[in-house]
């Protein structure tokens, strides 16, 4: 029997391999609003207390993550790497300064006797940073990357893919688990297939609007070596978060 860990969502563990086998990478894709961010948090909290949890966010403020988790009564005792904040401080704030120089022009005193701090000039490579933080984790561990879209936007696709491959290899080697969220249907096929190929399991979240209500569904798109798996589950949100149920 393979050793598995819980993905944190009742009903989904069964649709996978009675949980997520240690060393596996799970890719969660969905359209905006389909619940991938909440999924990421629920996945993270399922490991707290048993595993070292690393939560890499590229979109939210840290306090928003914690608050959301507390709303559902989830533990939030995990390492949060907030790339969104770092990106603002390092890149966007600088962009504002640059726009000033571009607009108002440069005087000699703006450039004379300027010793450029090479370390500050070279922008942080957030892919490297993510990889580094992952490499520092002590097993057993659980990694959440919410979301990969930020990296896709600012780095070469091939660089993002190879970093994801590295992270996966690292967690495979140490028996950790990884959850990566991604926007659905925005990348070219080669990129999307590349990521789905790296991932051991792929689930898609879907938000469907019927005449009367909005339904959330979860489609198990891939379970490595189990092509027969492919359930679509209904996702409901209770006061403890997502619950997955078989379709009626």
């Amino acid at each position: 029997m393979v050793e598995t860990v819980s993905v944190g969502i009742e009903g989904l563990n069964e649709a996978l391999l009675k949980g997520l086998p240690k060393g596996y990478t799970l890719l969660v894709s969905g359209e905006p609003g389909s619940g991938t961010e909440l999924f990421a948090k629920q996945f993270a909290t399922a490991g707290i207390g048993k595993e070292n949890v690393l939560y890499i966010t590229t979109t939210e403020r840290t306090e928003d993550i914690i608050n959301t988790m507390h709303e559902f009564g989830w533990k939030s005792d995990m390492q949060i790497v907030n790339i969104a904040t770092m990106y603002y401080e390092e890149i966007l704030a600088k962009e504002l300064e640059i726009s000033k120089y571009r607009q108002e022009g440069i005087g000699v005193n703006d450039v004379k006797n300027i010793t450029l701090d090479e370390s500050k000039m070279r922008a942080t490579n957030f892919l490297t940073l993510a990889n580094y933080r992952v490499s520092r984790l002590k097993p057993p561990f659980r990694i959440v990357i919410d979301s990969i879209d930020f990296f896709m936007e600012i780095y070469d696709r091939s660089d993002v893919l190879s970093t994801m491959r590295l992270i996966k290899a690292h967690s495979q080697h140490h028996g950790g688990v990884v959850c990566i969220t991604m926007l659905k249907d925005v990348y070219d096929r080669a990129t999307q297939s590349g990521l789905e190929e790296i991932a051991d399991c792929v689930v898609e979240l879907q938000k469907e609007k019927t005449q009367l209500e909005t339904q959330l569904k979860l489609f198990v798109k891939k379970v490595r070596n189990h092509p027969e798996k492919g359930e679509t589950l209904l996702l409901e949100i209770g006061d403890k978060g997502f619950v997955a149920k078989p379709m009626k």
């Binding site: 640059i98 440069i106 450039v111 004379k112 450029l116």
Partner: protein, 256 residues
């Protein structure tokens, strides 16, 4: 246009005396003011030294001079300049000789990409000409233009950059030397071939092996606005600055 007509009537354009021993004679009095000159050669041929000397002589005669260093930090360049007898560090204190590092300009303008867009090229030209106007610079050196060209990549962009910059500098009456690096085997005068076609003048520096000695040579290949010798000269880097002697004499010297 008035310049052209004046030249036709035989009126000489105002000269920018380089102050370099021998070079002003070769150029019949100096570089026509406002020209953009390509100083080209492989490494170790004296391009930077010649350019610095050109600036120092300008500063000594009261002209404001600007050195934009692209590859080396200007602090390092200054250290190389101090041993020369003609150099006076008061020129820097008085603001007659100003050093700027191109990477500082790139940084301020947020030019980090490996290939600049046309918009970014215009920003760079505006930034450089803005400083030339602000300080009323009369002599400018960019060392090296080749390093800038690395980031322009295409011929169109290099042409755009040098033409726009040359025009702006010439409008301010600023005489400029653009340092261009080429490999020794190169048949052209510049790395991209575009620079040489646009420049108002080309001074080529080279190495010549003669009887076991490696001589530095200098030749003025092209200079708009003046008649000049096209002969090859031997360039000597001495503590008092550059000395130029006709090649034949230099060769005979080596035979002694």
């Amino acid at each position: 246009m008035t310049d052209v007509l004046a030249e036709k009537r035989g009126i000489q354009r105002e000269r920018c005396k380089t102050g370099i021993e021998g070079l002003d004679n070769i150029l019949n009095g100096g570089i026509p003011r406002g020209n953009t000159i390509l100083v080209t050669g492989s490494c170790g041929t004296g391009k930077t030294t010649l350019s610095l000397e050109f600036l120092v002589h300008g500063a000594l005669s009261g002209e404001k001079c600007l050195f934009i260093s692209v590859t080396e930090p200007s602090s390092k360049l200054l250290a190389n300049l101090i041993p020369y007898e003609f150099f006076d560090d008061r020129l820097i204190e008085q603001g007659l000789l100003v050093f700027i590092d191109m990477p500082a300009l790139y940084e301020r303008l947020g030019l980090r990409k490996t290939e600049f867009t046309f918009e970014e090229i215009h920003m760079l030209v505006n930034a450089i000409s803005g400083i030339v106007r602000e300080l009323q610079i009369k002599r400018l050196v960019i060392d090296s233009i080749t390093s800038v060209c690395f980031q322009l990549k295409t011929e169109e962009k290099i042409r755009e950059f040098i033409l726009k910059l040359g025009k702006a500098l010439s409008d301010f009456g600023c005489t400029s030397l653009l340092v261009s690096e080429i490999s020794p085997a190169e048949q052209r005068y510049s790395m991209y071939g575009v620079e040489e076609a646009i420049a108002d003048g080309i001074i080529i520096l080279g190495n010549l092996e003669r009887k076991g000695d490696l001589l530095r040579t200098m030749q003025v290949v092209k200079m708009r606005g003046t008649s000049h010798s096209r002969a090859k000269y031997v360039l000597d880097l001495t503590p008092i600055g550059i000395l130029l002697v006709p090649l034949l004499k230099g060769g005979m010297g080596a035979e002694k």
